[in-house]
């Protein structure tokens, strides 16, 4: 019996040491960081980017995840590309293009003398080969962006060696922007595709500044400089994308010098990174974190109830607290960088007194919130904390909330079923076009339009926006859509996320692009 007592005391002592250890482990890390920086200078021609998960596919036609995009954007190029820091369209593999008056015919004049990493020539046939495999009828179900990019395409014609013409069935203004995307649109070597049964997931081959060396599943993807690149060659000789699943392990890897750039971090580790002398870089993202009301069933069928809930939540205060200033409070669904954004449009103003009176009058006292349990790119603290923050605001206006949190996959299934009053979601833009955001609330697809919102006027505006050429008239259409959202309140925009990366102090020239992620060709390391 004495022995057991001793055990208990020992356990307590261990717990104490553990608690004491928390306080000074920061100092311990600093020591080890000093040790390893000397060894990393020996490998100064290699840049290591640590990310949280394996890419899904290194074939741009089969990838839809951020982890793949970050790698593919260094291997592949499309006919057009986004400008270095905006979503304006610039020439890339096509030097110029003509769009017919009716918006149905696109003619691209291709760059000459470009070679794929396997030595074959880039030409009109290669473009046709790549687009043809994703056309309606030919695309397989596992090509996630084939429909998004190529659904309006009637046919692709190779006019001569360096001219290609694309005919559309219907005019679609975002089509050109879609061709700049890293999903679906980039051109893969036809020879490589033929050798790999039409899927180069494990043996990618493009025209970009880096070429593929190896992919060790769940470990790393290694790239090396393409010395025959048509443009300015990449600065670093090797790039390694290292897979480190655990967020805190990734931070430690950065601080130890085992990684040069890491992503997937949140505000809580900022101090830890800065204390080690590294920098935290925040670049504007094209992502909106929002709350959706169930507009077809329950308490929030009523627009007044939805507006009252919006008025009960102090969004700027909540965002400041949860994301500690690293994300921006949102007033509209459209991120601020997209055409059509208007800062004068705001959701119902914060007024808890009026909200309390209104909700009391409408008899809204108990609501059911569903949320996701894991962090998402647009919500780094996870859905549970966000839901609890909202629960805190609503309890002050007399509304009790039950929160059910599920893992992401289960959550999506339940959300589509519509068994909720309030839920949380987010949207990351693909192509920098406002339609890409705004059409979400115009579809009948419950996996996109979670609030089941339907407005004839809104849908008309969206249909008109798709065929209107880029310009002020088109932007005005989306501003009008935003006004409808602010008034009808099917969703409450919460925040626009930033990309947060930890960058080692000796790394220069890194930028996280809103649409194409991490182009590393211009990054240098001292």
């Amino acid at each position: 019996m004495k022995k057991r007592l001793l055990c208990v005391l020992l356990t307590a002592a261990m717990a104490m040491t553990l608690a004491a250890g928390c306080g000074n482990s920061g100092g311990g890390e600093k020591k080890s960081e000093k040790k390893t920086t000397s060894s990393s200078s020996e490998t100064s021609d290699t840049l290591i980017f640590a990310q949280g998960a394996d890419p899904r596919s290194l074939d741009p036609a089969f990838a839809d995840d951020g982890e793949s995009t970050k790698i593919n954007t260094n291997i592949y190029e499309g006919l057009v590309q986004y400008a270095a820091k905006t979503t304006e369209i610039e020439p890339c593999l096509a030097e110029s293009w003509d769009i017919s008056e009716d918006g149905l015919t696109y003619t691209f004049h291709l760059r000459e003398g470009v070679k794929f990493h396997d030595g074959t020539d880039f030409n009109a046939e290669a473009v046709k080969y790549n687009f043809d495999r994703q056309l309606p009828g030919k695309a397989t179900e596992d090509m996630p962006y084939a429909g998004f990019v190529f659904a309006p395409v009637k046919d692709v014609v190779a006019d001569d060696e360096y001219t290609v013409t694309i005919h559309l069935n219907e005019a679609q203004t975002p089509f050109l922007a879609n061709l700049a995307m890293i999903q679906g649109s980039p051109i893969v070597s036809p020879k490589a595709l033929e050798e790999n049964n039409g899927n180069v997931t494990k043996s990618p081959c493009g025209t970009g500044p880096y070429k593929f060396v190896s992919w060790d599943t769940e470990q790393s993807v290694i790239l090396e400089r393409n010395d025959e690149y048509w443009g300015e060659p990449a600065k670093m000789k090797n790039v390694i994308f290292k897979i480190i699943k655990d967020n805190s392990a990734r931070v430690i890897a950065l601080n130890n010098g085992e990684a040069d750039i890491i992503d997937g971090i949140d505000a809580t580790v900022v101090d830890q990174i800065k204390e080690a002398g590294n920098t935290v870089q925040t670049d504007e993202a094209m992502m909106t974190n929002y709350m959706a009301f169930n507009t077809t069933d329950g308490a929030f069928k009523d627009k007044e109830a939805r507006r009252a809930i919006c008025a009960a939540i102090n969004v700027p205060e909540m965002v400041e607290t949860l994301y500690q200033g690293y994300d921006v409070p949102a007033t509209t669904f459209l991120p601020t960088s997209l055409p059509g954004y208007d800062e004068s449009i705001k959701p119902a103003e914060y007024d808890p007194e009026a909200a309390k009176a209104k909700l009391g009058e409408l008899g809204v006292t108990n609501i059911h919130i569903i949320t996701y349990s894991n962090p998402r790119p647009y919500n780094t603290v996870g859905g549970q904390k966000l839901a609890e923050a909202v629960q805190g605001y609503l309890s002050k206006v007399g509304v009790e909330c039950t929160i059910d949190a599920y893992d992401w996959t289960t959550f999506k299934t339940i959300a589509q079923g519509g068994d909720f009053d309030l839920m949380f979601a987010g949207w990351g833009g693909d192509n920098g076009d406002p339609d890409n955001f705004m059409n979400l609330l115009a579809t009948d697809d419950p996996s996109m339009n979670y609030s089941h919102f339907h407005s004839d006027k809104y849908n008309e505006l969206i249909a008109k926006g798709v065929i209107t050429p880029v310009g002020e008239e088109r932007s005005a259409i989306y501003t009008e859509c935003e006004k409808i959202i602010a008034d009808e309140a099917p969703i409450l925009p919460i925040s626009h996320a930033n990309f947060m990366c930890g960058v080692a102090k000796n790394v220069d020239g890194f930028f996280y692009h809103v649409a194409c992620g991490t182009k590393l060709a211009g990054v240098t390391k001292k």
Partner: protein, 304 residues
């Protein structure tokens, strides 16, 4: 073990109940650690009762409403206004820990009552009846014991869903076999004793023999087990809460508080330290008391 139990049985048969209680207390008093444990337990029970009663009466005795978020005051380090600081939603950690006491104690006691109830019945039936019934019940208990307790509880929680009541059931089910085994062992030795034989001879029914004559004599090992079981249950609840399987937010549960604070271990360690200390203190108190009690109930050490 069996020998010890027989000794206890004989002893209790000779002495009167009042004097036994007194002698347990006398010997418990000798162990300083057990007394410390008992004082902490009484303190915890008082906190739990006071917060529970005042909450029911609508009086706010805690400095802050433990469940009320104040986003403008998140991550305040410990200071005069917030003794233990505030969490990520601006809730006062001191108030939450005080409020969490009743949850942890309630779960601890409920789990023990739940598992004791079923464990005693199953163990007594198995021990007294013997044969096939014994084999079936005890092999089933062995199967349950072969699965690590917390894993089993997590699986049950995944099936039952989130909530305090379900946590009690899950942890309770997991702890049944321990009681069943103790009771069965004691019953096996007690049923061969002369007074049991005598009770049977004068025509008592099995149920009456089990509850009236056998169980009162195997109660001491059960009490010791139950005291230690409470600390185990508090720890298991905290583990489930830590994994996000425990309570419906915004309820303050120590393990849940610890789990949600783990992300802030470097930036705001106080969000983590205080719930951790609360768990440690409660578990330590029940363990110390349980150990002292087990010594006090052991006739060999008592008669020292």
């Amino acid at each position: 073990m069996a020998l010890k139990k027989t000794a206890a049985v004989e002893l209790t048969a000779q002495e009167k109940p009042e004097s036994e209680l007194k002698s347990i207390w006398e010997s418990l008093k000798l162990s300083k650690t057990a007394v410390i444990g008992m004082v902490i337990i009484i303190l915890l029970i008082l906190i739990a009762l006071v917060t529970f009663i005042t909450e029911k009466m609508g009086i706010q005795i805690l400095p802050y409403n433990p469940n009320e978020a104040d986003m403008s005051a998140s991550f305040v380090a410990p200071c005069a206004e917030h003794w233990f600081g505030t969490d990520e939603l601006g809730r006062d950690i001191f108030s939450r820990i005080m409020d969490g006491t009743k949850i942890s104690l309630f779960v601890g006691f409920s789990v023990v009552i739940f598992s004791m109830f079923f464990g005693i019945i199953l163990g007594a039936v198995a021990g007294y009846k013997g044969g096939v019934i014994d084999t079936v019940i005890m092999r089933f208990m062995d199967i349950m014991l072969s699965i690590p307790g917390i894993l089993f509880a997590i699986t049950l929680m995944a099936a039952l869903g989130k909530g305090l009541d379900k946590a009690i059931i899950a942890i309770g089910i997991v702890s049944i076999p321990e009681y069943a085994r103790i009771v069965r062992g004691s019953v096996l030795s007690a049923k061969e004793s002369d007074y049991t034989q005598a009770a049977r001879v004068i025509g008592n029914k099995d149920i009456r023999i089990i509850f009236k004559h056998i169980l009162p004599n195997v109660i001491s090992p059960i009490i010791v087990r139950a005291t230690l079981g409470i600390s185990g249950a508090i720890l298991d609840t905290a583990a489930l809460g830590f994994l996000g399987l425990g309570v419906q937010p915004p309820l303050a549960e120590w393990g849940d508080m610890l789990g949600r604070a783990k992300g802030y271990i470097f930036s705001a360690p106080y969000t983590l330290v205080f719930p951790g200390l609360a768990i440690t203190l409660a578990v330590l108190a029940f363990n110390l008391f349980g150990d002292g009690l087990s010594d006090a109930l052991d006739p060999k050490s008592r008669k020292r």
